[in-house]
């Protein structure tokens, strides 16, 4: 009876039914993958509201009453780390964008001896892995007297962020039609003014992508701060701060997990504000070799 029934339906209905049925396996599979992906974070949230007895009783589900006090308690310890991360990464991003847009504009629109050679010199730095430079860079920073200062973080980070930023920004500038710049030149603007008033405003989306990539990289950097700012607790960024925090709060489960949650919030907020830029940038399909 069933197959006959479908054969008498109009074409559109049959197509619609076929499409919906075919899709359900895919949805099942996706959901099957997403649940274990998200559950640890959900559990983290649940655990952050428990006090120790609740924790030992049940680790999986939410326990009532919720102990919001865990958050205020953890916040006291964790907020300096957040502040430091914001300052260090923030200043770094500004520095990277500043230096890289100057350089990228020059490479894209300028014409001067050695331009391409210099560009390849910069690109070649991509071949140098961090592991080779870690020790020597540490000694350099030490010799410059910058150890345990914020500059020990910011200056090398700005330097490190240049290569990729210049690469992205240059290819953006390359695609801007020359006419825009020509008309400005005819009006008597010098190159710097052109950069400032025409090129940069246009480049906002790609600068956003650069900013996002950069902030994510510096925010999560554990090794470099660990090595250069170890003896100055007031400068600890989130990664190092968390190691201290974890030691101090182990077995004090509620506040421990509350701390983990609190420390995740800034990035979450940042991403919500820049998500469309990010997905647009990745979905452009330009990332391949």
């Amino acid at each position: 009876m069933s197959s006959l029934k479908h054969q008498t339906l109009p074409l559109q209905r049959r197509m619609a039914l076929r499409m919906r049925r075919g899709d359900s396996w895919v949805h099942l599979a996706m959901i099957g993958l997403l649940i274990p992906t998200f559950y640890p974070f959900v559990a983290l949230l649940f655990l952050s509201f428990k006090d120790n007895p609740q924790f030992y009783h049940n680790r999986w589900l939410l326990s009532f009453p919720l102990h919001f006090g865990n958050y205020t308690y953890a916040l006291k310890t964790v907020s300096p780390y957040i502040l430091n991360s914001v300052i260090s990464s923030g200043v770094t991003v500004v520095g990277v964008l500043l230096l890289a847009s100057l350089a990228a504009y020059a490479f894209s629109r300028g014409d001067f001896p050695g331009k391409e050679a210099l560009f390849y010199l910069i690109l070649s730095l991509l071949m140098v892995p961090g592991i080779l430079t870690l020790i020597a860079r540490f000694v350099l920073v030490k010799q410059l007297g910058l150890l345990n200062t914020r500059w020990a973080l910011i200056l090398p980070w700005i330097s490190g962020g240049q290569v990729f930023a210049i690469f992205l920004l240059r290819s953006f500038f390359d695609h801007v039609p020359e006419d825009l710049f020509e008309s400005a030149r005819l009006d008597g603007a010098n190159e710097f003014q052109i950069l400032l008033q025409i090129a940069l405003p246009l480049a906002r989306p790609i600068m956003g992508v650069v900013a996002i990539l950069n902030i994510t990289g510096t925010w999560n950097d554990l090794i470099w701060p660990l090595v250069t700012v170890m003896n100055n607790q007031t400068l600890y960024t989130i990664p190092i701060g968390l190691t201290l925090f974890r030691q101090a709060f182990w077995t004090n489960w509620g506040p421990l997990f509350a701390g983990y949650v609190i420390v995740s919030i800034p990035m979450l907020v940042f991403f919500v504000f820049s998500s469309s830029l990010f997905i647009r940038g990745i979905a452009s399909g330009a990332i391949k070799m």
């Binding site: 997403l34 992906t37 999986w60 100057l102 490479f107 001896p113 592991i131 080779l132 990010f278």
Partner: protein, 319 residues
């Protein structure tokens, strides 16, 4: 001659070719644009690797140095059992986790799943859901998984206990035989979070970029399901796959934050990776020359593997 032709001749006569130095001086403003970048690069990006290359042949504590030639390399490959133990560890992690799981199997699976969803509203939602875990700081994810595999209170053992699988309960990170495997298991099911989450999205973008003409032609020729994936989709996103695998290798060979944070290379040397070994040699024992030598060896290894991957992951149908 016409007026215009005369003018042209006059101008042509007047303009000489500038010498190189004059050219540079005339265009000096461009060099000023590049100056801040190059200063910062010279100091923090060019000098350190050269210094590392140089000091790899010295006994060095950051202050005094003493030439020892190839001694570090000899020691590294003959006597430093810790270093020698760390190599297979990082290779296992690299091949099993980074290459197969994180950069090949799972992301291709997820990308294909989302690609095959008919209604764009759902596809967009799934894509968004994949991005969300990327937001969580790496440290939090590491500590979260450290907790999951905590032998006494962690979610893993209590789940196994609750489902009657007590046999599978383990010391996880504290068990020398299980520790490395536990690192492979971290981030199950390996589809989102940090760098891992990027791969499905990039492959998906690649799939979406396949021209409709090819997709339709494949369908008409009868290539469906797995055959289509193997013969059509994969070759056409080989560019993206190559990029992700190479980047994954480069990251994995150098990385040691998870090992530093969770197990400190232990128990014993069960989870020691070369990067961690280098870190300890340089910053705990002040053997910076030796550390630089290790860094140099890792650099060469990365170069080698990058070349090999680029050659190996080739497809005849590049898009």
């Amino acid at each position: 001659m016409t007026v215009i032709a005369k003018k042209r001749a006059a101008i042509r006569g007047r303009v000489k070719k500038r010498s190189l130095l004059q050219e540079i001086w005339h265009k000096k403003h461009w060099y000023l644009f590049l100056l801040p970048t190059f200063v910062s690069l010279l100091i923090f990006q060019y000098y350190p690797p050269l210094s590392a290359l140089y000091h790899a042949f010295f006994r060095w504590d950051g202050v005094t140095k003493h030439f020892v030639g190839l001694e570090h390399f000899r020691y590294m490959f003959t006597e430093d059992w810790r270093f020698l133990a760390s190599i297979p560890n990082v290779f296992i992690l690299m091949v099993v986790k980074t290459i197969f799981v994180s950069r090949l199997f799972m992301p291709i699976l997820v990308a294909e799943l989302i690609y095959n969803i008919k209604r764009p509203r759902w596809a967009y939602t799934y894509r968004l859901l994949l991005v969300i875990p990327m937001v969580v700081p790496m440290m939090v994810i590491l500590y979260l998984w450290e907790f999951i595999f905590e032998p006494n209170f962690g979610l893993a053992n209590s789940l196994l206990g609750a489902t009657g699988l007590e046999k599978l309960q383990s010391g996880w990170f504290s068990n020398p035989k299980m520790a490395l495997t536990t690192f492979v298991l971290v981030n199950f099911p390996w589809i989102a979070g940090g760098g891992t989450g990027l791969a499905p999205l990039i492959y998906l973008a690649g799939l979406l970029g396949i021209p409709d003409a090819i997709v339709d032609a494949a369908r008409i020729d009868g290539a469906t399901g797995l055959r289509r994936i193997w013969h059509v989709d994969l070759p056409l996103i080989m560019g993206q796959i190559k990029a992700m695998v190479v980047l994954g290798i480069i990251g994995r060979l150098q990385g040691y934050a998870p090992q530093l944070i969770i197990t400190d290379g232990g128990p014993g040397v069960a989870t020691l990776v070369p990067g961690l070994h280098m870190y300890k040699q340089a910053f705990m024992y002040a053997k910076m020359g030796y550390g630089s030598a290790i860094g140099l060896v890792l650099f060469l290894l990365i170069l080698l593997l990058t070349f090999v991957s680029m050659k190996y992951l080739r497809s005849s149908v590049e898009y």
